[in-house]
Symmetry: C2
Subunit: 345 residues, 2 copies
DNA sequence: CCTACTCGTGAGAGCGCTCCCGGGCTAGTT
DNA sequence: AACTAGCCCGGGAGCGCTCTCACGAGTAGG
């Protein structure tokens, strides 16, 4: 069998067999060394490693996958019907965390994006068909059955953000939105503000609910402080502007506002300026997300930062554990948020 | 051989062999049908398709890869040492274009990120080792030999943005920066501005060079219009602020400024405000990139938009052509920019 | 009527790897 | 000295697919 010495494929990648020949051992032994099995003598291991080095051997992913029946890759699924994904650093940062954590394990990161309903269905097919060992799902909508469909299929899945309908044991990683909102609001209080309004997000999303809960929690038990001075938005700048106008109408004396997203905070600042209020002199503002925009507003926006990269890492770690253990459920992980102080308070 | 009926693997995926059995043909014929070969009779094709449908057959990627010696996937390589990648919509939008174009061809999108020098080296290894059929490289630095190293290796590579050192026939897709800058500057002129300054980017990057060239081109031949009223920045907000202060010092009478990035434009607006100038009444401002931030400044920033998603699609198309043709070089593609009018002019 | 060619098809031979069984060897036990 | 228990190691089998080759049947040409 000299087929190893077939035609010169240009950048011919050596195979296990060739390494084995060079090292004077068998294919099996080389495989054992490459995969770190302890069942190899020191001598054999050394000569194999030498041959590997010499020939520049790299295992063939496809062959390994075929033999092990694993895909050695995970999918990062962005199933966002809107096109404004990625305008926030959130995804990129998450992705970086995932990438970093994954690179150590040798798994590939396959990016899957779905906007249309048809693409959405394809994603499900794709993942179910075993092209990946597990999936990280971001920006999944509340009524989307995708995660459960995949779990039923036996595919390990991890989500970002607590799902609204808390399904039994759907693995997820989230930041402590309640505590973040509480800390932001408390900070306003500690800086002497007493009429603190809130612009919160949709109450059919866990972030919306949690951030409002945090706001209320911070004000609970404080004397002479209104706790229900809140208006609802949809996280967009326009909705923030609108909400702010309503709030000013309801209480022209308000001296601070907690916005559940930076975009809404930006809208609020615009409305405040239009109403002749100065930030932070007349009204202090805090946002949430610590987006890029927060750094460039005038004044720069104090905001709650989610450790997005860390969240990516945690999601990955969780997923790898699930994949290894062959399980599909595990306890959620909640990571702490941090208040970033800037000029708007 | 009943090994097809081995243990019930839960979600046992059917193999070619099983489909063949169900359809009453041989493996080879099924393969031909699945791969769209014309060498199949209508009868055979029909019964195979029926069996495929019935059993829910999906080809095993790894097996196919192994047999064809292709990876059936392309890498999207982000080799950015800085951590501020993805804060701009640029990457996300590019990625979306790539993803859309790729999904039609059935290739996988593998995301590879490299920040540290070590990761950087790993990326090269990774791509060279044939784990992917080609690579899309974004944010490659001028002195980075990565693209050429890969090309020498025979790997098809496509870059975003014209490389500084215009190397013979390195495939790339870029937007028409010269024309974009020219149009932006011309727009300022047409609105009656006559003392138009520029804040340009580093001149060791093609975007920096091109955008300055466009600015100069717009003003060339206009009487009584200064053409060298420019200061340099590094695309950051701080540098824009600094440059604006310098410009105001050099010409307190200037009535417009073209900034080669939105971030620098934001910095410029801040410096203008600090100097008591109103935007756009006293000084008009245009930016470049049409970033998310541009929409949220006060006033909203007029800016040049690059068709990033289209660029992603073009890059992908180019890469697929290269992969198919077995070539590594092709002519660049330049896509047009668009001026987005907002309140800052 | 025989040869030549085309067309659809079946089947063997891999692609490069892992897994597992069994054999040879050494060391420890009776 | 014979026997068992480990430890290494070799190599067969197989993962699911593509590719090539050859064969039989049909059609055309001489």
């Amino acid at each position: 069998m000299v087929e190893a010495t077939r035609s010169g494929n240009g950048s011919a990648r050596p195979t296990l067999e060739q390494v084995a020949a060079a090292a004077g051992v068998s294919r099996g032994t080389v495989s054992r060394v490459v995969n770190g099995s302890p069942q190899v003598s020191e001598a054999a291991r050394a000569s194999v490693l030498e041959a590997v080095q010499q020939l520049g051997y790299v295992p063939n992913r496809a062959a390994r996958s075929l033999a092990t029946r694993r895909a050695d890759s995970v999918a990062f699924v962005v199933s966002e019907p809107e096109s404004r994904v990625f305008t926030e650093p959130f995804f990129g940062s998450l992705l970086r965390g995932v990438s970093k954590e994954l690179s150590a394990s040798g798994l590939q990161l396959v990016l899957v994006m779905a906007w249309t309903a048809r693409e959405h269905a394809q994603v499900e097919q794709y993942v179910r068909n075993g092209h990946v060992d597990g999936a990280i799902l971001v920006s999944v909508h509340g009524d989307d059955p995708l995660p459960w469909r995949l779990m039923e299929n036996g595919t390990p899945v991890v989500m970002s953000g607590r799902p609204q309908l808390s399904h039994p044991s759907l693995p997820y990683v989230d930041s402590d939105n309640v505590e973040g909102a509480r800390a932001a609001t408390a900070h306003l209080y500690e800086r002497g503000r007493r009429r603190i309004a809130a612009i919160t997000g949709p109450q059919d999303m866990s972030v919306g609910v949690d951030r409002l809960a945090g706001y209320r929690k911070a004000l609970r038990g404080r004397r002479g402080v209104p706790r229900d001075l809140c208006a609802f938005g949809d996280f967009s700048q326009e909705s923030g502007e609108r909400a702010m106008r309503q709030l000013l109408e309801r209480d022209p004396e308000l001296d601070a506002v907690f916005a559940a997203s930076d975009m809404m905070a930006v809208g609020a600042m615009r409305a405040l300026r239009a109403a002749g209020r100065r930030v932070p002199d007349d009204v202090a503002v805090v946002g949430f997300d610590d987006s890029e925009t927060a750094r460039h507003t005038d004044p720069p926006l104090t905001s709650v930062r989610q450790p997005t990269e860390l969240m990516g890492r945690e999601m990955t770690r969780m997923l790898l554990t699930l994949i290894e253990g062959g399980s599909t459920t595990t306890d959620p992980v909640i990571v702490p948020n941090e208040l970033v102080l800037r000029g708007s308070v």
